[in-house]
Point group: C2
Chain length 407, copies 2
């Protein structure tokens, strides 16, 4: 088998951990596999480089940040390769450029456009382990670019696709994807598999296993991958295209997002263009808002509610204040912090009805009030008082039977 | 003018020093010059990376050492560029690869084969300061290679040649090239200019201004360069092709090499092949020997003497012990440590006679015994007792009038 592994900064964060990674790679070779490994910079190195840049320049140019930051991964590929050679394993390092990672777009947050796997394939064909620098590539002009947060995961998925790997393993400090955060829901179970779309919905509501764009890339190119721990040999969670058997499970998992706030504007004239006006202002201020609900009240005026992270509440209020007068004399802004969001996700929802009712019933029986509600094809989200969010997660997790192993 | 500057690791060894370098570059721009700057890794960084490599691997593969070490310069080009941008100077960094530095030969000690200045010229043409990573290039296979000790000087000379710079300045922690080491000879003067060959001879006998191969490269491609201090704005020493006026000065400088030892083998049969046998053994043991003198004594046997660094004396003795019996029953090995070498260098020697006599007379008048003597076209070297080497340097320096400004 051709296996592509990815190790993050924590997994290569010290000499001992690098040796541990080398030992794991050696085992795979001894089992007869071809192996390529994408690595991040050693934990802490990237932050240190950013600090150095800020020391010398108030606004370090992004082109130069890429030149600087890409050295972190270049160091770790050399060091991991050396650790492998110390164990007698034939290995070579390759930078993003040598791995044929062609990028485009802005520096410090580039996109992967294509990968030319010629050199990687040659080394793999020679029986060598290939250690690939994650997070980096070069654009058409030949300039080094980095991929931004979570970039090494993206490198790994893209690299696995380019060399047609049989298996792509993302090794991290979590064991896999769980039905809920085990720190909140003690009975949470590790999922043997999950579809791309489900992981995307879980990720977007706060399960920080992996950045969305890596999952989207994997979905687009059909790269099946496994999320597993770099500290043990337990099987992790396979992330793959959905298949029929997956629909038997209605809800795959529950996730929570804390520190949310809600802003409601009432007294909005019920005329076209009002929503665009309000949301446009927030867009210009580059504020991410999350749930959006709008309806018309009995008084003939419309009302808009939306949620955001509590940290953004002040900016939202400031951005909207000047808009209120444009909306006419009745417009008013109310806000509420101290709420949290609970979501259930599952592709089984598409073929099962009554999921929302079941969720609301469980919350009601638990004495938990529901604030806003929003739904998508495979997700239902509600807001609840933040103090009750853990209770809410537990009752819903249990109501959907997520704490018992599947049949 | 198009000026290429080179700053070593000490000159970019801290944030303050990087800011100092940026300020100097800004001044050149303000004077209307085009500027490209070759920089080394920040002082101490390369050593730290070597230590990391050794921690993980007893014999780190050289290919990977190059991947690792080249990050040092890549970091410093980004940081210097950022410091320039902070001062409002348009600047871009380029790696060895982007600078078109094509190398060949072994990893960690590669040679520069050619330079493609296309990208550098484009940036310079756009009015940008170009900050170039020294010490590195890529070979035909596209692999990163480093140039070994003094590699950044070599990068600068080669880069200046490729972009046809009007001036190449090597900025360092010395003020220029002196007639003698000012710590030894208080009256030593900074030379306004020196020929490549003279600097090569001075360098090879211990004046550590610059590695010989950088000077040889400059000579081969006719790159005139200036050695000057990065800490002040004093004019330095121009290193250039020799010209007629230079010959008016008989001796350009005096240099000393301490901690030398002498080994003499006596009783060597006066037959062909004896020298080859002795020197062959030392060559195989990879011991550098310096002065070699051989002659035939009154007893009909030959004797060989040679000098080496005291640290190598034990290895020389060990290597030669087994050879003595091959040389026949009369062969004997004597050795003497505690000597030092004094050399005078000047292309004027070619057209002036009596230089050796003048040197020996000065030493004699100073009461200093001469041991071995060796001469080349532009250099005369003698060994003296190490305790007298500083006196020897002073009397010779004075005898050739090096302590008085030239007419």
């Amino acid at each position: 088998m051709l296996i592509v592994q990815k190790y993050g900064g924590t997994s290569v964060g010290s000499f001992d951990r690098i040796r541990n990674v080398a030992g794991r790679i050696k085992s795979l070779r001894e089992d007869g596999h071809q192996v390529a490994v994408v690595v991040s910079a050693m934990g802490g190195v990237t932050d240190k480089l950013v600090t150095m840049a800020r020391e010398l320049c108030d606004e370090p140019p992004e082109r130069e940040m890429d030149v600087l930051l890409s050295t972190g991964e270049q160091q770790s590929i050399a060091l991991v390769t050396m650790a492998l050679r110390q164990l007698g394993v034939e290995a070579v390092s390759i930078t993003g450029r040598q791995a044929g990672m062609k990028t485009s777009g802005s520096h410090t947050r580039a996109r992967i456009e294509a990968i030319d796997p010629t050199l990687s394939r040659r080394y793999l064909g020679e029986g060598k382990v290939v250690i690939v620098a994650g997070f980096q590539g070069v654009n058409e002009e030949g300039l080094i670019q980095t991929l931004g947060r979570g970039g090494s995961d993206l490198s790994a998925i893209a690299f696995a696709s380019s060399v047609r790997a049989d298996l792509c393993q993302v090794l991290t400090d979590v064991d896999g994807v769980y039905t809920a955060d085990p720190r909140v829901v003690r009975d949470a179970r590790k999922l043997p598999e999950i579809s791309y779309d489900e992981l995307l919905e879980l990720a977007s509501v706060g399960t920080k296993v992996m950045q969305s764009r890596s999952v989207e890339f994997a979905k687009k190119y059909g790269v099946k991958f496994e999320v597993r721990s770099s500290l043990n040999n337990n099987p992790g969670t396979i992330v793959t295209e959905e298949h029929e058997a997956m629909e038997a499970v209605v809800i795959r998992g529950v996730s929570i997002e804390r520190s949310q706030a809600r802003v409601t504007i009432t007294g909005i004239p019920d005329e076209p263009g009002m929503s665009a006006l309000i949301l446009g202002v927030l867009g210009e201020a580059e504020i991410n808002i999350d749930m959006i609900i709008s309806n018309t009240a009995h008084d003939g005026y419309a009302r808009h509610s939306f949620t955001m992270h509590t940290n953004d509440l002040g900016r939202v209020q400031a951005a909207l204040k000047p808009v209120l007068s444009d909306l006419g004399g009745e417009a008013n802004l109310e806000s509420e912090a101290g709420i949290a969001k609970l979501s259930v996700v599952g592709i089984g929802m598409r073929s099962h009805s009554g999921v929302a009712a079941q969720m609301f019933k469980a919350l009601g029986e638990g004495g938990i009030n529901i604030g806003m509600i929003s739904t998508s094809e495979i997700k239902i989200s509600v807001t609840v008082e933040e103090a009750r969010i853990e209770d809410a997660a537990r009752v819903v997790h249990s109501a959907f039977g997520l704490d018992t192993a599947p049949a």
